[in-house]
């Protein structure tokens, strides 16, 4: 058919098609735009955290008092140390990733393999550390009493050092037993009861003269307010409602339950990204080993997952700042 236009006469000209104005392949560009949208998701979460924090600015938990633990060093207060280690591990695995990309550009298969391997190891160490951090946070250490209004009362001695509830309270026989399906309504169940009742804590407090209560209210120097002995006793008797240990989505012995909610949600979402990043890295690692990219004559795939992996590191930098530093 002579009327069919086969050539437009614009080949090689600006509007002739086949142009790559951004000089990046389709896959790489789409990875960038995925990262952009994911960055906005994370910003939404962190900004929501900021919203709640500004809303409760006078009694938000102090991160330095919450995350003080380091594995194998029991009973020592070492704020920031472990999370600094985690940050360093993640930055380090970013470095090995970018070295793998660099080796890929030079088509050095052995080097790419080894750097990918190190990156995966770094990612696994990070995910493991995060699991440990979660476990420690969920377990808690000193315990606290939640008031009827949802506030948290912690116990300190005259020097302001924290006291653990289990150290001054003894458990007494109680009529209240945990409800189990076999002992009543089979379709109703409840979680385990707290180790102590508020009445037992009151007894323990009355028996020890130097125990004071610390509320979550921050004074003008940014310290939590400690009540006097009389105020402490009446506060506990009048308002004490529940003994809490550790943190979960409902209660948080360190202060506002929202802090725990956001911590679980944001670090959990980030941890999920790290986990999926490790899985993708493993897939690419095996592709490198079996020579897929060698045959393709291009290691661009390594570069694309590298972008994702760096993004995970980038997000962590912000999570680190807003959860642990600020």
């Amino acid at each position: 058919m002579d009327t069919t236009v086969v050539n437009t006469g614009t080949e090689g000209k600006t509007w002739g098609g086949g142009n790559e104005p951004l000089k990046a392949s389709y896959g790489k560009m789409m990875m960038w735009f995925f990262i952009l949208s994911d960055a906005l998701t994370f910003s939404g979460f962190l900004a929501a955290y900021g919203f709640s924090r500004f809303k409760f600015i006078d009694y938000w938990p102090i991160a330095d008092e919450v995350f003080t633990h380091v594995p194998f060093l029991h009973g020592q207060e070492l704020p920031m140390i472990y999370v600094a280690f985690m940050t360093f591990v993640l930055i380090m695995s970013s470095v090995t990733m970018v070295l793998a990309v660099d080796a890929g550009h030079k088509m050095q298969k052995t080097k790419v393999t080894w750097y990918m391997f190190l990156t995966i190891i770094g990612g696994l160490i990070f995910v493991g550390s995060q699991a440990w951090e979660w476990a420690t946070f969920i377990k808690g250490d000193f315990g606290a009493v939640q008031t009827k209004g949802g506030n948290i009362l912690q116990f300190v001695n005259a020097e302001g050092e924290r006291l653990a509830i289990r150290d001054f309270t003894t458990s007494q026989h109680s009529e209240r037993a945990q409800h189990e399906r076999k002992s009543g309504l089979w379709f109703v169940s409840e979680g385990s009861l707290p180790d102590f009742t508020v009445a037992e804590v009151v007894k323990g407090m009355e028996a020890n003269d130097d125990i004071l209560i610390r509320t979550q209210m921050l004074d003008e120097h940014g310290h939590k307010t400690v009540l006097s002995r009389e105020e402490s006793l009446s506060m506990l008797k009048d308002h004490g409602n529940l003994v809490v240990h550790g943190a979960n989505l409902h209660v948080n012995e360190y202060g506002s339950p929202l802090f725990a909610d956001f911590f679980f949600f944001i670090t959990g979402f980030h941890g999920f990204h790290v986990f999926s990043g490790v899985v993708i890295n493993i897939i690419i690692f095996f592709n490198v080993i079996i020579g897929t990219y060698e045959r393709r004559r291009s290691y661009e795939m390594v570069e694309k997952v590298g972008l994702y992996w760096h993004f995970v590191d980038l997000v962590w930098v912000f999570v680190f700042t807003f959860f642990y530093l600020v």
Binding site: L22, A24, A39, F54, A84
Partner: protein, 127 residues
């Protein structure tokens, strides 16, 4: 794009001979910044507790250092420095604009709710 890397950081103050060398250089820079953050976070110097625009100087320092780290991760690890201007602007400015908007709205509203709680007639927290 893949093979020609720009090898200067800090506006040309530091120049590297190869891409590998630049990567290690950026690692050192990021490590130093993180170390400074951690030390400041542990000791919290009293000098930095004054407030500028409603926030402690220390917190401003943390946020600025975080942005510095984010810049070097994006520019050197993710090779934004080597991409075309068009791609760089499409990604970076979109993010910066939307995130600034989001932060402004949410922090403003959070501060407002706090104000209603502490100054208004709504009793915030009966114990």
């Amino acid at each position: 794009m893949a093979h020609d890397h720009k090898l200067e950081i800090l506006r040309g103050t530091v120049k590297f001979k190869s891409n590998t060398q630049k990567i290690w250089g950026v690692l050192i820079l990021l490590s130093i910044v993180t170390a400074v953050e951690v030390v400041l976070g542990i000791y919290k110097p009293e000098v930095l507790m004054g407030k500028i625009i409603g926030m402690k100087i220390l917190n401003w320092i943390f946020i600025i250092l975080t942005l510095v780290k984010a810049y070097y991760i994006t520019w050197d690890f993710m090779h934004m420095r080597d991409e075309t201007k068009g791609l760089r602007r499409a990604v970076v400015w979109t993010a910066i604009f939307l995130i600034c908007y989001l932060i402004f709205i949410l922090l403003q509203e959070g501060g407002y709710v706090e104000g209603v709680y502490s100054n208004g007639f709504i009793k915030q927290h009966g114990f």
